[in-house]
């Protein structure tokens, strides 16, 4: 694991190697203590002392990140996709704060307190006083009310906008520091959905300034209340931010400037890292061992992406309608091999897709084990189901930024299936084509693979499961009254405990049904200059990598 090396001690640590434990670093500490005591003793004015201490800290240097893609790079939450959340975290504050593990926090969000009414139809958020936007104006309840109304408009492209729109009935600002949200139906997860742990819907913008300059004017020169101010941006290419003097929650930011650059080609990103043109890059999993060996620091969002495959339209007259066939296909693939060779060892096995290991916090069953590799049993099951010579179906192959290994994964799956006599015809296409076929119900019995963030929020997980498995959903792979009833019961549950219990039931139901083909939970790696970036907790929040951790001292 990486250790944090204090710069002023770095040389001293080197000098201790092979020597005795008394270091130049400890000498330095003694010297500083002696000077401080002397200065205090002679009674210098406190201001002069403060000037020499922590108050004199200033942001210095530049942090440069080169990524394959960064959302739309339009710094307006309702005109930005979830994939732009990282830089927005530096520019804005969220209504509700969150800890890196995804739990809610009253320490780094605008709301210092929130509560749900007894009838579970009203949420009240008490805002922190004294938070200012970068232009010096106060952040008030009116800004929160307006921002949330804007982000839930139909034209909003924010990922969870529709969910919030369906829930929120009215938003009120009874006084400058209180926001009341009334909901159509009980929503246990509203605070979670409006937190830094979810998407970027609850980033708060200054209403007055936005209305004065308009959307395009705001996008050209956005103002937030986050630890960094906007300097310049070119959509699809670069964003440059500059540190504020001091942020109310994060303190004095570490770097004077932070630059996000889009560099689509991985070999270019690697070259930039090697030559010192950038400090952090997004890298593919297969490069990790090589880069670690080269002395770079590799930080991973452990188990960040849950990867699995769907058996589409299982209710049709197709082989995968039979549970034995789904079981056979699940037993036919060697997940250990896939994790080691396709995902370069940067993946862990999982029991069921899309319910990942983070979901244990939301009630998922931790006792369920990954399906074993048993091709002999798979063949037997095929024979029992009336397909002793296998069958033929289609599997889709497309490139996705979040799973560059997907075409190779599909080839590997087709290879495993061939061993049990199932012929998978690989349909190479682009993701939008496959997704459109899925939406229009043109994938009977076909297989396609996807990745999704590992989720720990029960509400979020439930919405995902509902979308993927409820018979009323356009994306469903099932039409099962039993599963529908479970999903509906979980959605109607009145307490967090009940929801978690039902998520556990759902998890077991899907597992016993061989509903999907879970593959693995893959880590999301980032490679950094080992001298500059010594620690980074990428956290477990959705759609970001805890970018704020990078700018903390």
């Amino acid at each position: 694991m990486n250790t944090v090396v204090r710069p002023w001690c770095a040389g001293a640590q080197k000098s201790t190697q092979g020597g005795r434990r008394r270091t130049a670093c400890s000498d330095a500490i003694k010297l500083i203590v002696a000077v401080a005591v002397t200065v205090a003793a002679i009674g210098l004015p406190s201001a002069a002392y403060a000037g020499a201490g922590p108050a004199a800290e200033k942001p210095t240097g530049e942090l440069r990140l080169a990524m394959a893609g960064i959302g739309v790079m339009r710094p307006i939450p309702w005109q930005e996709t979830v994939f732009g959340k990282g830089y927005l975290l530096l520019l804005y504050d969220w209504l509700v704060g969150a800890n890196p593990d995804g739990s809610l926090s009253s320490a780094n969000g605008i709301a210092e307190h929130w509560e749900m009414s007894d009838d579970r139809l009203t949420w009240t958020f008490r805002l922190r006083e004294g938070i200012k936007f970068h232009d010096g104006t106060d952040l008030t309840a009116e800004d929160v009310k307006w921002s949330l109304e804007m982000v839930t408009k139909p034209e909003s492209i924010a990922g969870f906008a529709a969910r919030l729109r369906a829930t929120i009935k009215a938003i009120e600002a009874p006084d400058p520091y209180t926001v009341v949200i009334r909901t159509h139906k009980p929503d246990l997860w509203l605070a979670q959905d409006l937190s830094m742990a979810a998407g970027h819907e609850a980033a708060i913008l200054p209403r007055e300034y936005y209305e004065k300059v308009g959307a395009d004017g705001f996008a050209a020169k956005p103002i937030g209340s986050g630890p960094y101010k906007w300097v310049k941006g070119l959509a699809g290419s670069v964003i440059q931010l500059e540190a504020t003097a001091k942020h109310w929650a994060e303190g004095v930011p570490k770097y004077q400037t932070v630059t996000y650059r889009v560099v689509p080609e991985e070999s270019t990103r690697l070259a930039m890292l090697r030559t010192g043109e950038t400090d952090i890059i997004g890298a593919s999993r297969e490069r990790v061992p090589e880069l670690q060996a080269s002395g770079f620091n590799v930080f991973v969002k452990e188990r960040g992406s849950v990867i699995g495959c769907y058996f589409h339209q299982q209710w049709e007259a197709v082989p995968v309608r039979d549970k034995r066939i789904r079981q056979a296909l699940n037993l036919a693939i060697n997940r250990e091999e896939i994790a080691n060779f396709i995902f370069a060892g940067q993946a862990k096995l999982m029991a069921m897709y899309p319910v990942g290991s983070f979901a244990v916090a939301a009630g998922a069953d931790p006792e369920l084990k990954p399906y074993p590799y048993d091709p002999a049993k798979a063949k037997q099951l095929l024979a029992e189901a009336g397909y002793p010579n296998g069958f033929e179906t289609t599997i889709y192959s497309y490139a996705r930024e979040d799973i560059p290994e997907l075409p190779r994964l599909v080839e590997a799956i087709a290879g495993y299936m061939a061993k049990i006599g199932v012929k998978l015809n690989i349909f190479s296409t682009e993701y939008p084509v496959a997704r459109t076929k899925r939406m229009t119900g043109n994938m009977p019995g076909h297989i396609s693979c996807l990745g999704t963030p590992n989720r720990s929020n029960p509400g979020d997980l439930l919405t995902l499961m509902y979308t993927l498995h409820h018979s009323s959903s356009r994306f469903t792979d099932h039409k099962s009254p039993e599963l529908d009833a479970l999903l509906e019961a979980a959605q109607a549950a009145g307490t967090e405990q009940e929801v978690k219990r039902l998520i556990g039931d759902l998890h077991r139901w899907l597992y016993n049904d061989y509903a999907t083909m879970p593959i693995a939970e893959a880590s999301i790696p980032f490679v950094a200059n080992s001298k500059k970036i010594t620690a980074w907790d990428l956290g477990r929040t959705l759609y970001d990598n805890n970018d704020r951790d990078l700018i903390r001292r």
């Binding site: 080169a66 739309v72 790079m73 339009r74 307006i76 005109q79 996709t81 979830v82 139909p154 034209e155 492209i157 990922g159 906008a161 529709a162 959307a215 395009d216 996008a219 070119l234 959509a235 699809g236 290419s237 670069v238 650059r261 889009v262 560099v263 689509p264 080609e265 070999s267 270019t268 070259a271 930039m272 090697r274 030559t275 043109e277 682009e430 993701y431 939008p432 084509v433 997704r435 459109t436 939406m439 996807l450 999704t452 919405t463 995902l464 979308t467 993927l468 959903s473 356009r474 994306f475 759609y543």
Partner: protein, 305 residues
């Protein structure tokens, strides 16, 4: 001449209209941008609502009419991905593309002119073969591969040049060379055949008989005349360079039109792809039109044929 001008103008207009229909249809038949903008767990209602908000739910003829009627006024709509006017996106990036195209063209000419002239003058010799090899290599080696190799050599190993992005004059060298080398073959071979023709002409023979030095005959008299088709070709190449440097701009993270159109294709950002294709077509068609008109003006046989 007037009749010829009208005829050529109409032909150009038809080309643009047909192209607009093709690009409009092709972009829409390959997928839906909305499914890429929303997360995987977005519901069908979310997708439909966003499609309505973006006007993508309207019938295709209606969408086409909106596109054409605005495009003729210079308005290509708003980018679906970038959520801003497409012309703003293009104007932000056009200066970068223009500068890179200019540098590439200079590099192309610096390589192609001496190679073309030498290949013609030393026809059939090893110099001719070598010139051909250099030129053809530039066209046959994949641009992205050349770019990556150059980065590894000059940026990573020798640390002489920056890897990617913009900022200084040094940033132009690697992408400029990668793009320029690709074009060398076409211009060099055109110049070679044009030079061979000119070198065999009467006025060159006369110049030689008059006792002018070979250098003066080749570089002053022959090259000047051989350059006419090269300049025409170069003007069209320049138009393609400005908007079509997709691979080079992607490899070098160059914030130009090529990178914009690449992202437009990946995200099915119809308005961006349509605008870039139509603007490229407009430039190429205009250059062709002007060249044809110039030829017709110079040579009456063309306008009467």
């Amino acid at each position: 001449m007037q009749r010829y001008v009208i005829k050529r103008l109409l032909q150009s207009l038809v080309t643009l209209v047909v192209l607009s229909i093709i690009v409009f249809c092709l972009t829409r038949f390959t997928g839906d941008p909305v499914v890429l903008m929303l997360p995987d767990d977005a519901s069908h209602e979310d997708i439909m609502q966003l499609r309505r908000a973006l006007g993508l739910d309207k019938p295709l003829p209606v969408q086409y009419w909106y596109f054409v009627s605005r495009a003729v006024q210079g308005d290509f709509g708003r980018s679906i991905k970038g959520q801003m006017p497409v012309m703003d996106l293009i104007s932000d990036r056009l200066p970068n593309s223009l500068k890179l195209a200019a540098v590439s063209l200079v590099i192309t000419l610096m390589l192609a002119l001496p190679l073309g002239v030498m290949a013609a003058v030393k026809k059939g010799t090893s110099i001719d073969t070598l010139a051909n090899v250099v030129a053809v290599l530039g066209q046959s080696l994949p641009q992205f591969w050349v770019g990556i190799v150059l980065i590894q050599l000059f940026a990573v190993r020798l640390r002489l040049l920056p890897v990617a992005g913009t900022g200084s004059l040094y940033h132009y060298i690697l992408p400029g060379f990668t793009l320029g080398w690709f074009l060398v073959a076409g211009i060099m071979r055109l110049l070679r055949s044009s030079m061979l023709e000119v070198l065999d002409s009467e006025f060159v023979k006369l110049a030689r008989i008059k006792g002018l030095s070979p250098r003066t005959v080749i570089w002053k008299h022959a090259l000047k005349n051989a350059l006419i088709p090269v300049l025409t070709f170069g003007a069209i190449y320049l138009a393609i360079l400005i908007t079509g440097a997709i691979l080079v701009e992607t490899v070098f993270a160059w914030p130009g039109i090529g990178q914009l159109v690449y992202q437009g294709i990946v995200y099915r950002d119809f308005p961006v792809v349509q605008a870039v294709v139509m603007l490229t077509a407009l430039i190429v068609v205009t250059v062709n039109l002007l060249v044809d008109l110039a030829y017709a003006y110079i040579d009456p046989r063309i306008r009467y044929s």
